[in-house]
């Protein structure tokens, strides 16, 4: 079913230069998304609708998203050290099924 195909050129998305470009683009978009919060603090053309005081802090959602994601990954490392067992821990075999 599966066979190796080495004749095709490396697709655009897999090239190192493309990955670098996408990462830089993400940094630019992230920086741009900070601008509205600056405008909100300066009261120029954008008013962030908030329910809690913390939400009005400069870049609250951006920082929250970054920290939350990093926390999940960091906690994952610790959690794995606690809950990880062998693949056959429950001893039910390892075969997978599909449609008949």
């Amino acid at each position: 079913m599966a066979d190796q195909d080495n004749t095709t050129p490396t697709p655009w998305i897999e090239r190192a230069s493309s990955v670098t470009l996408l990462v830089r683009l993400l940094f630019v978009v992230s920086a741009c998304l900070f601008v509205p919060d600056v405008l909100d603090v300066l009261h120029i053309g954008y008013d962030k609708h908030v329910h809690y005081g913390a939400e009005s802090w400069l870049g609250f959602y951006a920082v929250f998203g970054f920290i939350a994601y990093s926390f999940i990954v960091g906690a994952g490392w610790i959690w794995r050290s606690i809950v990880m067992r062998d693949e056959g821990f429950y001893g039910n075999g390892d075969e997978e099924g599909d449609d008949a």
């Binding site: 954008y46 951006a62 998203g65 999940i72 990954v73 429950y90 997978e96 099924g97």
Partner: protein, 570 residues
Amino acid sequence: MLEHLPPGSVLVLGALVVPLLRGVPRQAWLLALPILSFAHLLSLAHGSYGHLLLFDITLSVTRVDKLSLVWGYIFHIAAFLSALYAAHVKDSLQPVAALIYAGAAIAGAFAGDLITLFVCWELTAISSVFLIWASRTERSYRAGMRYLIIQVGSGVLLLAGVLIHYSDTGSLAFDHLGTPSFTDNLGPTLIFIAFGMKCAFPFLHNWLQDAYPEATATGTVFLSAFTTKLAVYALARGFAGSEILVPIGAAMTAFPVFYAVLENDLRRVLAYSLNNQLGFMVVGIGIGSEMALNGAASHAFAHILYKALLFMSMGAILHRVGTVKATELGMLYRSMPLTTFFCIIGALSISAFPLFSGFVTKSMTLTAAAAGHYDITFFVLLFASAGVLHHSGIKIPFYGFFGHHDAGIRVREAPWNMLLAMGISAFLCVAIGVYPQPLYDILPYPVDFEPYTASHVITQLQLLVFALLAFVVLALKHLETPELRCTNVDFDVVYRKLLPWIVRRVGSLCGALRDGVIDTGKSLVGLVVAVLHFGHGPSGVAARSLLSSTAIAIVIVLLFLLLLRNYLTQ
């Protein structure tokens, strides 16, 4: 006449014909049934139908109103898409089980009384387990048995609660059942726990991650749509506004995130993700305001579509490659570009990016939480939103179709029916995101919510894009959690390892106790035998023969002692 048939019954009855059909007629029949059933539903006006007399109790089998219709509509759409996705399956067992399962879930969503709900509840359990067993592996058999025990157990608890509730109130109507309380409201409390088992409340959730990844590629798509969402509907009908649901739902959104990050089996990742999404709905039901209930209902609607789409994309991989373990996959997008595209649409939808369905539904629950001053819950939901991006927004498409290396897998694109089902699902995810008004129009309460405000769009993008940035930074620093072939122990270790271990230990203790009692008994019997042997054995005292002179001497001594006694007492 047709109004006496409960919605969904067309699917159940139509399923019985399926084994008689083959090839194209069968495929056409499988696709026609959800459409016919939907037409039947549309023919019903709001109200109660199908009144039956059971002993001296009048049952109201069908109740059509705005709340039940939301579930009725989306269940029919899901049944059609799942049937289309599974159209290539030749096994007769699966479509029969799937149609009965879908029909029972639909009928359950329209149940006007608790007995009808119980019947549908159990029918969904019994029919759906065949979608797990259809994998025909030892793992799926065992997982199916565990699934069945828990699902039927939920039904038994439901029935017990219903009977207690009936004896207390004399009513079997499936309406608001009050606040759960073991001391004041036992019947509804048991019903609440039964709903919670099916809704995968914390510590009652592991059947979901255990069973769904073991079902067939197409079976999991059906499973993802009905069981848990029927439970969400039941909670919305019976326990809206129950405060206890808010912390339960918040916990449901948060804890699966930490398991989803570790899981290697991508369908199990989606099962944890499903748990997380259910949490948002449960929180909305617990808050109980009109906006929160609208949020829960609309989120259930959107969720069924994008979750089915994600399970479909993983099912397509399983169908073509034979595994969905992240460690085995890599650069599959080259072989399955359309499936990759549809998966990314599903990932964007569940992550709640603007212009996708999750954005216009989930935000209602968040806004309702903030408006209701559920401060901690609001921030937990915000945290969980970042978690969703991690496991469903990034991990599923990245490890399913890209990964860090080329695994060398070259397969054909998914079959046309799978692609069509994924394409329609993806279209609906985008359509709801771009133009949510038709969805808002069918919600139980008038919608006073505008998702596309500048503030809302920008804050959501900030949350998601910076979480994405964290992923990139951590990946560049090689700090992301690697995918490993392993088992991650969850609460099911209690009944899969701990309880069997306790039973074995108690059994061996009882065995040792029994052996001890038997050994002691044997020793006592041996002692008695020895004593008797000493006295009455062949050479025992009692059996020994004495000389007659000795006997005469003993008699003389005894007579002398008697004489002496009489003399002394004179």
